[in-house]
């Protein structure tokens, strides 16, 4: 009886994993891509990870054309996890700590947090200099998508992939020291898991 139960669990899981593995890599990337969006008047078409990091950590406060940058965070989500891990190179808690420290130093406050991707898009579309990140699937034509390091979201090599498992493997670091994640190195099992319970992940 126990064997039967085990087989019941094992077979579909393996099949599911097989299904995930069998997907062409670019398609998987597109599924998870987190797009960097700016207002349509922004002349930028590309941005580097370091530039993004400095904008969202308040070390750089303007675009190259002199427009004041207005970074907008997305409330806890897979996209935010990916953004924290890949761009800020921090855990979520480390990001909070960073901004507590910055406020005490008098160096400014954290970017405002929008409650949903739709809200980020509405803000970015209307505020000159705004920049946000949202799941690619939710982007509409009211905003402009930037390539990151010359790679468009959904293309192979795009660094911002919304796979929660990435965050779980961030090594313990000081709040500005996290490195080591790099890009999409999540296991296929994590990819499969990420498809099972996105709502649960969003709450983490």
């Amino acid at each position: 009886m126990k064997r039967d139960v085990a087989r019941w669990i094992r077979i579909p899981s393996l099949l599911g994993l097989l299904g995930a593995l069998s997907l062409p890599a670019p398609v998987r990337a597109a599924d998870q891509a987190v797009a960097i969006v700016v207002d349509r008047d922004n002349p930028q078409s590309d941005i580097g990870l370091e530039d993004l990091r400095s904008l969202f950590l308040g070390k750089r406060r303007e675009w190259p054309d002199g427009t004041r940058a207005v970074p907008i965070d997305l409330e806890f989500s897979v996209a935010r996890d990916a953004f924290c891990a890949t761009v800020l190179r921090m855990r979520k808690g480390d990001v909070q700590r960073y901004w507590v420290d910055q406020r005490i130093r008098g160096a400014g406050s954290a970017p405002r947090v929008a409650p949903s991707a739709a809200s980020v898009i509405r803000l970015v579309a209307r505020v000159r200099g705004a920049v946000g990140y949202v799941p690619l699937a939710q982007v509409d034509g009211s905003v402009k998508i930037l390539t990151v390091g010359g790679v468009a979201p959904g293309k192979p090599g795009y660094p911002l992939l919304g796979q929660l498992d990435l965050v779980e493997h961030v090594p313990l670091q000081f709040h500005t020291g996290g490195r080591g994640l790099g890009r999409a190195a999540a296991s296929e099992a994590a990819l499969a898991a990420s498809a099972i319970a996105p709502a649960a992940r969003d709450r983490t």
Binding site: W8, P12, S13, L15, G16, L18, G19, A20, L23, V27, A30, D31, D39, R40, D41, S54, K59, R60, R61, E62, T67, R68, V70, P71, I72, Q96, R97, V100, D101, R103, I104, R105, G106, S109, R112, V113, A114, S119, L123, A125, R126, V127, R128, A130, L136, A137, V139, D140, G141, S142, V143, P153, P171, L172, Q173, F174, G177, R179, A192, A195
Partner: protein, 427 residues
């Protein structure tokens, strides 16, 4: 049959369903508000039409926040034998274990526009000395007495950011030197209290005047500067007066980047004349110079974070040359005045703090400090302070530190041992 069905469903759930939801970006269409969209400051107006849309951090607004800490201090061995208990308590080293609310700081942060911002920070304190005004009963509670305290203006400034390279600030600001003086808040700093080289103010802790600062990325390195012109050292003078008539000038250069972890190096300098006046005993006569000296200060700092390792270090130097009319009498730290005039002097000090971050945000650390003064051997000494910093929450920190302080030329035991604990939080 049923197994195949379940397998198919799960296969779909794990692999195929995401395919269906894998949407690409919608075709680009003209954004309704994009052309001529407002920059930062006017974002609120743009958002106003839509309730529930969050505002941005550059929108005009006002924020109230702060930090506080409660400390416990216990002198396990006294440094100065025979010193009065009240004196030691005022020096922050009470003979008997004592709790204290050390800092209760409130920030009033106003974003005036996308580029203009103001910040005021005040500290509520028991000073002067928590006097109990027994002759003035608490008017709200009959027959009760009350202890009164004061408010320290830590900083109050307004600034305008012309660009990342130039921000101009006016008001009272923390002197931009080193690490600790700017990190400043008990939840942010690793140790329980300021290192001596910072608390002894070899460079002024704060100034009133103008500050320009900015930074620029050169490749992967961020290079920045601060330049200040002010009333100079505040000292015992009223903060709103510059009795010397000369400005205090200061500056800082720093570079930071990702080189074997994250590294930041900085050098700072300050020069100014400090003049302290006393009112003449005779009406109609001008004030007398009680103390006047020219000072030069320099500092260097290093902050390095590599994986779980943190290293902070600052070295500060100050030279003091009295003017002919402003040279005070020599008053030694201990013992009676000699009657001689005080000599010019220089002093220096440094600290090194090394920490290692363990899981659960526990950071054991070791703080080493050294102080040296050219004319007073009793001021030469140092301390070794092992401690633990636990950042239980992003805005809640617990600290425990054990100070072994040694000043070899002091009479008495020459060595003090102090146990310090602290709970600090930001709100």
């Amino acid at each position: 049959m049923s197994r195949r069905l379940v397998a198919a469903v799960l296969f779909t759930a794990l692999g195929a369903v995401p395919l269906a939801t894998r949407g690409q970006a919608a075709p680009q269409r003209p954004g309704p508000g994009a052309p001529g969209a407002p920059e930062g400051a006017s974002a609120a107006a743009a958002q106003g039409e839509e309730l529930g849309t969050p505002s941005t951090s550059s929108e005009p607004g006002f924020r109230l926040y702060g930090f506080a800490d409660v400390s416990y201090r216990n002198s396990l061995a006294l440094l100065v034998e025979g010193a009065s208990e009240t004196t030691m308590a005022l020096f922050g080293v009470p003979e008997k274990g004592s709790f204290a609310v050390g800092n209760l700081n409130l920030y009033l942060d106003g974003q005036l526009s996308a580029r203009a911002r103001s910040l005021a920070e005040v500290r509520f304190t028991y000073l002067p000395a928590g006097t109990q005004a027994t002759t003035s009963p608490d008017y709200a509670h009959t027959l009760a007495t009350t202890s009164w305290g004061g408010i320290v203006i830590e900083r109050a400034w307004v600034e305008y950011a012309f660009s990342d390279l130039v921000t101009l600030r006016a008001g009272q600001f923390l002197t931009p030197f080193g690490i600790w003086n700017v990190d400043h808040g008990s939840p942010t700093v690793i140790g329980v209290q300021k290192p001596e080289v910072v608390s002894q103010e070899l460079l002024p802790e704060r100034q009133i005047g103008l500050e320009a600062y900015g930074s620029k990325y050169l490749g992967s390195a961020r290079v920045g500067y601060h330049a200040t012109v002010s009333n100079g050292r505040i000292g015992d003078n009223p903060p709103f007066a510059n009795f010397s008539g000369r400005p205090g000038l200061g500056g800082r250069l720093f570079v930071e980047g990702d080189w074997l972890g994250e590294l930041r190096l900085g050098v700072s300098g300050y020069t100014g004349r400090y003049t302290e006046l006393v009112a003449s005993d005779f009406p109609g006569l001008s004030d007398e110079v009680a103390l006047e000296y020219d000072e030069r200060g320099a500092a260097a700092d290093l902050r390095w974070e590599w994986r779980s390792v943190l290293l902070l270090s600052e070295a500060v130097y100050q030279s003091v040359k009295y003017t002919d009319g402003g040279r005070p009498a020599d008053v030694p730290f201990l013992g009676p005045p000699s009657g001689a005039a005080a000599a010019d002097f220089w002093r220096t000090g440094l600290y090194v703090l090394a920490g290692y971050r363990l899981p659960y945000h526990v950071t054991p650390y070791l703080l080493l400090q050294l102080m040296y003064k050219s004319t007073d051997a009793t001021s030469n000494g140092g301390s070794i302070c092992p401690g633990v910093n636990l950042r239980a929450l992003p805005n809640l920190v617990l600290k425990l530190q054990y100070d072994v302080v040694r000043y070899p030329d002091l009479p008495g035991s020459r060595t003090a041992q102090i146990l310090r604990g602290q709970v600090a939080w930001a709100f």
